[in-house]
Symmetry: C2
């Protein structure tokens, strides 16, 4: 029965995607506007549905942090509506033709940007993903099939019903925005192998979710990212700037994937820099876990275990290691990093170039905080996540990353000899 | 034991990939030259090894077609060497920085093209893939781990040994070009899940191989393509041009993925066009399998069964269907096509635009033969295959498609507020 239900969802999404691919920017923008308005008009109904999830969550003993993620308020719903309106202003990536060139035989060959088709999103707690993802997928001309966390089912259903009805009323085909209306785990498993209907799968959530999806999906996956991010302070760094950057990267918002997790410091400046850094960070409540050399220099520093180097704390904890040179820093990052965001603080042109060339990550920074890894900060507009894989998209994924291309070949009776 | 061997291969490839990412174009080109020269110098040894595969193949009763694919001659080895030399002239994609823009806060954000890392290739009969794939991967700065067909093991080993020794002598790190030296099927299975060591997997071969890899791989896959290609002749087509294009697409080389498999003809010109087409094609030995309407119009036409619409014949057989309009043609292509190469023959601007917009395929043609879907023909230089998936690369994949990118972010003490 679930199988039939999922097949129907897949079929109608696929069907909708064919129509969506040809729908004008104007209609898509009108739909985004209608969706935003509908969210505002139906805010009470949405919050009622959310209340049920919150009650269930409390009864199940969800943590306060999780309950806060789940909670919808009039302001949060308003925020989702505004997110949709922001998409209206972004350029439509679909239909752009690039690299159109005439071959020696007169054949004209170029690339046209097209939607991916049907995008599957498997996500956890936050109900705002329902609206954000639907909006981004729609603007890029894709149909979307979403499967949210079971704790948020009522909220997600309410949101999805409101926006999908609004989109349809504005001329978007039915089936373009769908939420899988069940908490059955099997539904997510089915999505992972619905190659016939789903073109790309984007898991959004913790490491566990991403691992399961990567391991089981036969549908191509866009992995979004775990970030064990490093900042390396070179011997010639401006230490005041380094201090500001390190404190910002670690404490401005510790619970996100682009926050700093391990500080690497050149041995020659460790004696001067580490006490400054420790004071500033400990004042902000950051617990430091250091290598033996770090422990010699700063007090109140827990010894770092091997595990610390590989941990994404997502919390006010930071590992600290003194390294003898940039080579050791790069090799540490290669061994323990997750290829998300890595930074060097240096005034040396040569060291900056070396770091940028050699460090293999979605975003490599010179003299800036890793916290900037973000679609808006990078100028892409809204993002659907930060890819840490190398295929298709790397780093923040905006509207362009939700598209593919096709070659268009214009001839005049051309045959191959 | 095999597991240890595969881990060693993976580890040394990964290690080599880190060095390769920073190697200059000059060194890579010198290595390609050395590899080409070594192939020419060691041609006898290579052909001796191939003789063993040919003897084994005959003993096993391989078909003549398969034996011909397996066969190496001095000319074929020379051809491989020339293929390597052609890569020298192509621009090195690695290191290109694009879209470098200054954000309102002064942060400079751009994208740098970087190698993918380690590419795994799983392929069937043709030993030339060993050389072609190694050359392309090397020029794009990637290490490669290759697993060829068991029938070609001796030939592949000889080729891989020659080119990898030549590459190393020219300054390429050991481990950059490796062939899995066993016919154990388990080795291919292991490659599919070596996520730690292999960044991307490219299966090259028939539908069976591609299906197995797509279903079992946890490593991201670049699918190369099955092509059930169509050509649709509109009512306003120039029928002489249409005839030339159809004959070329079907007969110029029937055994390849961009050859025409199903001809669609508008009802209004079927009576005039089909007899012309049948004469020309049957003269070239093509067997026609037609819909009922086609059978009324042309003689010597086998009835097409439902299966014929979905078959990639790769042979001198063609299915023929009369459709009532462009909508029926597009919907037939949507139902039965494999999203490879699709063509329309028309003089109508409107119909051409509609077809280009609506048909979802790696390459969409107007008034030209589908046989042009090819890296060289499209101006990309050599290709590693034709992708029929939508993620990362679609259509012929050249050097650029063997790379990824990273964001580079240049600041001046920037912190996020």
């Amino acid at each position: 029965m679930l199988e039939n239900q999922m097949r129907e969802i897949g079929e109608s999404a696929k069907k909708a995607s064919y129509v969506l691919a040809g729908i004008s920017t104007e209609v898509k923008n009108q739909a985004l506007q209608a969706m935003a308005r509908a969210l505002e008009e139906r805010v009470e109904m949405i919050i009622d549905a959310n209340r049920q999830d919150m009650d269930d969550g409390r009864a199940k003993g969800l943590s306060d942090a999780l309950l806060d993620r789940l909670l919808l308020t009039p302001e949060r719903v308003k925020g989702m509506a505004e997110g949709l309106r922001e998409l209206i202003g972004l350029p439509d990536p679909v239909g752009e033709v690039s690299n159109m060139r005439t071959r020696p035989n007169g054949l004209r060959v170029g690339k046209m940007r097209v939607p991916l088709g049907v995008i599957g999103i498997i996500y956890e707690a936050r109900p705002n993903v329902t609206v954000d993802a639907a909006g981004l997928c729609l603007k890029a001309g894709n149909a979307v099939v979403m499967r949210g966390g079971s704790e948020a089912l009522n909220s997600n259903m309410a949101l999805a019903n409101v926006i999908s009805a609004a989109a349809t009323s504005a001329g978007i085909p039915e089936g373009a925005i769908q939420l899988v209306p069940t908490t059955d785990r099997e539904a997510a498993n089915m999505m992972m192998t619905m190659n016939e209907y789903i073109d790309v799968l984007i898991p959004r959530g913790g490491t566990g979710l991403i691992k399961v999806v990567t391991a089981h999906a036969t549908v191509p996956v866009l992995q979004t990212g775990v970030g064990n991010c490093h900042t390396y302070v070179e011997e010639d760094a401006d230490l005041d700037a380094a201090l500001k950057i390190v404190v910002n990267a670690k404490t401005q918002r510790p619970g996100v994937c682009n926050a700093l997790e391990t500080l690497l410091v050149h041995d020659k400046v460790a004696q001067e820099f580490l006490p400054m850094a420790a004071d500033a960070l400990q004042e902000k409540g950051v617990e430091l876990r250091g290598c033996p050399r770090t422990q010699e220099i700063i007090r109140d520093c827990t010894p770092a275990a091997e595990d610390d180097w590989g941990t994404e704390y997502l919390d006010t904890v930071m590992a600290v290691k003194v390294v003898k040179d940039i080579e050791e820093a790069i090799s540490h990052i290669q061994s323990y990093g997750t290829k998300h965001s890595e930074a060097i603080i240096t005034n040396s042109y040569k060291k900056a170039s070396l770091f940028v060339q050699r460090v293999d990550a979605a975003a490599v920074f010179v003299n800036a905080s890793t916290r900037f890894t973000d679609g808006n900060q990078f100028g892409l507009g809204a993002e659907i996540g930060i890819s840490t894989q190398k295929l298709h998209a790397r780093g923040p994924m905006g509207l362009e990353e939700l598209t593919s291309s096709k070659f268009i070949v214009l001839g005049d009776g051309h045959v191959r000899s």
